[in-house]
């Protein structure tokens, strides 16, 4: 990134080659898994809409909003596929500044629960720019680390990546949004690991972060965040207060059994026992209504998708594609693990959405951008061989 190098303009690349050749490189499997996960997300939006007592097809319901965002995400996905990802290397600095700008705007005019500022209203829609920040930072880090190929095992690369991540991370923490800030850390760690950064330095940094936990506990974490962590550590202590969500989520999941209660039959959810059931807790509803079997299908789809992303990363001829894939895979694994782990009681409650399935436009659009770029990477690898 020291040199801002303009890649040659080849907007005609795709059209210049035969459609068949493009399709041979296009990962249809990846798109299939994405479509299936997206469909499951819509089904969950539907069931939550019904259980919230909404008349499903009128405007403004959970389901119609999910339909609209899905449509928009499809368009975004196609545009990102067609777009030549190599431009992103050139645009990495502007992207970084745009990211900072969006996060500053969020802090300035954003709304949120209990004095936080997380969502920005655009017309009738609300958008969470911290979601977009994830993909933008993956782009920026992929461009930065890709440029430093050969020097990646130096401390300088690690520190440089940390310095790039610093400002947006602090802005996200100021919202405050612990969940997203943790995802950013996971992205950073995953990309550094996959880039081949020195394990010794990474371990040292990790230990340093652990040592910083007491400091963070005292000065950074808000009371409600501390409560959530404490209630995770001992959920039975307070089933009516902070532990309520954890306890109810486990009851909800457990009562699903092997085959589930069937869609829209989640009595637990309908009674309002489960807070934020359509967003962060959506997996509890899924596990209850579709059972262990349904949850297993979701796990398999996620695993297959991550496999396809890693495959794209492996086959990428340039380090940007490899690192971008690594970042996206890190993000997905981390979010799936933390979100589902939270629902089934092995992780503390943090506001991290489950990709594709949690209701939320920003999350879906962000995924569409990231996966579109992966497909863009896929279809632009074999050019040189023809």
């Amino acid at each position: 990134m020291r040199v801002m190098r303009a890649e040659p303009s080849r907007f005609t690349d795709v059209t210049a080659r035969s459609v068949g050749a493009v399709w041979r490189a296009y990962d249809l499997q990846l798109t299939t898994y994405v479509a299936l996960l997206g469909a499951i997300g819509l089904v969950m939006a539907y069931t939550n809409s019904v259980e919230a007592g909404e008349s499903v097809l009128t405007s403004g319901t959970t389901f119609t909003r999910a339909l609209m965002w899905s449509g928009l995400s499809m368009v975004v996905f196609i545009v990102a596929t067609v777009f030549d990802y190599r431009w992103l290397k050139t645009l990495s600095w502007p992207i970084w500044f745009v990211n900072i700008g969006l996060l500053l705007v969020t802090l300035a005019i954003g709304d949120g629960v209990g004095g936080s500022s997380r969502w920005v209203s655009i017309g009738p829609l609300t958008f969470q720019f911290s979601e977009l920040a994830k993909i933008l930072m993956i782009t920026v880090l992929a461009a930065y680390l890709g440029n430093r190929e050969g020097k990646l095992d130096s401390l300088g690369s690690i520190l440089g990546a940390c310095v790039l991540m610093g400002p947006p991370w602090i802005l996200v923490m100021m919202q405050p949004d612990l969940g997203t800030s943790l995802v950013l850390v996971a992205i950073l760690a995953g990309m550094l690991f996959m880039s081949g950064a020195s394990l010794r330095w990474l371990v040292a940094m990790g230990l340093g972060a652990l040592a910083a936990i007491p400091v963070a506990w005292t000065y950074i974490l808000r009371d409600y965040q501390k409560d959530r962590i404490l209630s995770f550590l001992n959920p039975a202590a307070d089933t009516q207060g902070s532990g309520w969500q954890v306890y109810q989520a486990q009851i909800t999941v457990g009562s699903g059994g092997f085959l589930g209660t069937g869609l829209t039959n989640g009595a637990q959810a309908r009674g309002g026992f489960l807070p934020v059931q359509e967003s962060d807790m959506v997996f509890a509803v899924l596990a209850q209504e579709l059972g262990f079997l349904g949850a297993l299908v979701v796990f398999l789809l996620f695993a297959a998708l991550i496999w396809r992303i890693l495959s794209a990363a492996w086959h990428s001829k340039d380090p940007f594609g490899t690192l971008f894939g690594a970042g996206l895979a890190s993000m997905l694994v981390f979010q799936v693990f933390v979100n589902i782990g939270m629902v089934i009681g092995i992780m503390p409650v943090t506001g991290i959405p489950l990709p594709f399935i949690s209701n939320g436009g920003a999350s879906l659009v962000t995924l569409a951008v990231g996966l579109g770029i992966i497909q863009s990477v896929n279809i632009r690898q074999h050019r040189a061989e023809w």
């Binding site: 690991f193 996959m194 059994g257 009674g271 694994v333």
Partner: protein, 633 residues
């Protein structure tokens, strides 16, 4: 430069080990999630499902429809009507808003805010049990309240059934009423399925037959949301079984006649309290039971206000007291039945024995006066009982002694509750030598025994005891428990408990003795002691009585009650009192009647005129004027 990117970089550092490590980490993550999920859903799925159900469902009682009450001819005396109730669930009412909510709700319901708060605070049960604030709320008010849920947190509107008594005061002392179960009773009844805001029979047969009327509450499983609001009824766990219905022995028509007669007499004589009872002496069935003043039991069924209740309680004529069973009074001359029966049965006198009667009887230095200061000369039982000679019965009582007199009083059922189906019955007092020693530490004096012989002194009886004694006289010595409920009928219409006369005991007396006393009772009428009662087409035997009570006035005279108790033969138009076939015994009691004549007799005559549809008026309006009838009795 342009094509530089087309040249593959041959030695790209891809770090395959790190890809493998990442892959393994991913597999571990999903393995961990799957394991935990299997633990929750497969190993413990049933336990969690049970916990989920138990936390969102609750068993709620289904109130059973309360049994109905009919008179002996099948006339409906009480019905269940739907009404709006306003309740407060204390757990949903934030403490900081209590005063505000009480104020607003008070405004809507027309109640004092402080009353609302004291109802909440004095109600038993948990904070999650709704407390009834107002019953029988008009529909418009109920709608207003239910639409203001934001301003009135914790306030609910419920449809409940309440009792409606179409006849109100006419039947109030018999039927009683239902009301909210109080804190002490709730503690006792909670285990029998009573709810904190339940209604329970509190007086009359509503109270004595509570168990039969209440039925069995059912149970249903209700799904609730996290805030405790009902979502839906999942299933009925147990159906409610409606309460059984009662068929009373009371005949509403006779009750009306008795009420009308008593009201007439009380109004004409300016009386404040009175009792009229009609029974069938063959069975112990009570056909009418009137205690005036009465009250409107609908006030209680609708939820009586404090002001209304205080007014009833503070009324010095005690409308809430059933004077027929819950109060006792000196029986006066009606009690001469006991002395007469005892004297004959114990052989102290025979039907032919004549005793000297005079203006007074001397005992030591004390004179015991007859009401008739001239006396009646030598008198047999017909003369003594018929003219109600006090000196005659002083002598009979003296011959019997206090304990034999008490024995015969008990034979007639005095001195212990009759066991009528009404709460709060009192026993009365029959003095014996033992009683006197226990109560006052002294033996009975002869003079006190004299007084006891004419129903004065320590003796007090309830009107129901007195009529029951005369019923035993009329039926040949069988003392029955007076009954108010003929049959109990199950919800399916089958008779659960048929009517059966309930014999307390057979009197240890010969039929000849009782026949002599019945004829003596007839003599009371034929000797015109009761004036023109003998002229009526209905043939009556009985006894009037005047009983002094309280404190003497400035002229040294005592206030007095007047009684009449009598019966008619099975064929009321044929004066044959040798038989024991009477179907009708009746009693009139006039409390504190300072009239010229015996008000009880006039009231009894008024009843007979109504009951037997006698067109000619035999009533002596003049006798009911104010005056001291002692000079002419």
């Amino acid at each position: 430069m342009n094509d530089a990117y087309l040249v593959p970089k041959p030695d790209r550092d891809r770090r395959p080990l790190r890809f493998v490590a990442f892959g393994i980490a991913t597999i571990l993550v999903f393995g961990l999630l799957t394991t935990r999920l299997a633990y929750l859903q497969i190993s413990n799925g049933q336990a969690f499902a049970a916990r989920a159900e138990s936390q969102r469902t609750v068993e709620v009682a289904i109130p059973a429809p309360r049994g109905l009450i009919y008179d002996r001819k099948g006339r409906l005396l009480v019905s269940n009507v739907a009404s709006w109730s306003v309740k407060i669930k204390p757990s949903d009412l934030p403490f900081s808003r209590r005063d505000d909510v009480a104020q607003r709700l008070g405004g809507l319901l027309g109640m004092d805010a402080s009353d609302i708060l004291s109802i909440i605070d004095s109600t038993p049960g948990s904070r999650f049990d709704a407390v009834r604030i107002a019953q029988d709320v008009p529909e418009n008010t109920a709608r207003l309240v239910s639409e203001s849920t934001d301003e009135l947190p914790g306030v609910l509107v419920a449809v409940e059934t309440r009792r409606e008594y179409p006849d109100g005061p006419l039947m109030a002392h018999i039927l009683g009423y239902t009301g909210p179960v109080d804190a002490n009773a709730y503690v006792r009844l909670r285990d029998s399925g009573y709810l904190a805001d339940d209604l329970i029979g509190k007086a009359g047969v509503e109270a004595t037959f509570e168990e039969a009327l209440r039925g069995t509450y059912g149970k249903e499983l209700v799904e609730r949301d996290a805030t405790g609001r009902d979502i839906q009824v999942l299933r009925t766990v147990q159906d409610a079984i409606p309460g059984a219905s009662l068929v009373l022995t009371i005949d509403k028509q006779i009750q009306k006649e008795a009420t009308q007669a008593l009201k007439w007499g009380m109004k004409a004589a300016g009386l404040k309290r009175g009792v009229f009872i009609v029974m069938n002496p063959q069975t112990g069935e009570v056909l009418a039971l009137v205690s005036l003043p009465s009250y409107d039991n609908n006030l209680f069924a609708k939820g009586i206000t404090n002001a209304q209740f205080q007014k009833l309680v503070n009324n010095k004529n005690k409308p809430l007291t059933n004077h027929a069973v819950q109060a006792h009074y000196p029986p006066g001359s009606t009690f001469k039945l006991v002395a007469g029966t005892g004297g004959l049965a114990d052989g102290k006198i025979t039907p032919k024995t004549k005793l000297r009667t005079a203006g007074y009887l001397t005992l030591g230095s004390t004179r015991f006066y007859d009401w008739n200061r001239k006396g009646f000369g030598p008198c047999d039982i017909n003369c003594g009982f018929g003219h109600s000679s006090d000196t005659f019965f002083f002598q009979v009582a003296g011959m019997l002694g206090a304990d034999r007199l008490a024995y015969w009083a008990r034979q007639y059922g005095f001195g212990s509750p009759t066991g009528i189906d009404l709460p709060g019955e009192v026993a009365g007092i029959i003095p014996s030598s033992q009683w006197k020693i226990d109560a006052l530490g002294q033996p009975m004096f002869q003079g006190e025994t004299y007084q006891a012989g004419i129903g004065q002194g320590y003796d007090v009886v309830t009107p129901i005891q007195l009529i029951n004694a005369y019923a035993a006289l009329a039926n040949g010595g069988r003392l029955y428990r007076p009954q108010l409920v003929r049959e109990i009928i199950g919800p399916d219409g089958t008779v659960i408990r048929p009517f059966k006369p309930d014999l307390i005991h057979k009197m240890k007396v010969t039929q000849a003795t009782l026949r002599t006393m019945r004829l003596a009772g007839r003599a009371t009428v034929t000797l015109r002691h009761t004036y023109n009662l003998v002229d009526m087409p209905v043939k009556v035997a009985g006894k009037s009585g005047t009983a002094e009570f309280g404190v003497r006035d400035s002229k040294g005279r005592l206030p007095y009650h007047s009684w009449f108790v009598g019966f008619v033969p099975r064929n009321p138009y044929k004066a044959d009192f040798t038989k024991t076939d009477s179907q009708l015994v009746f009693l009139a009691f006039a409390y504190d009647s300072r009239t010229k004549g015996n008000a009880g007799t006039e009231i009894a005559k008024a009843f007979l005129q109504l009951h037997f549809h006698i067109k000619k008026d035999y009533l002596n309006h003049d006798l009911l004027k104010k005056g001291n009838f002692y000079q002419s009795n």
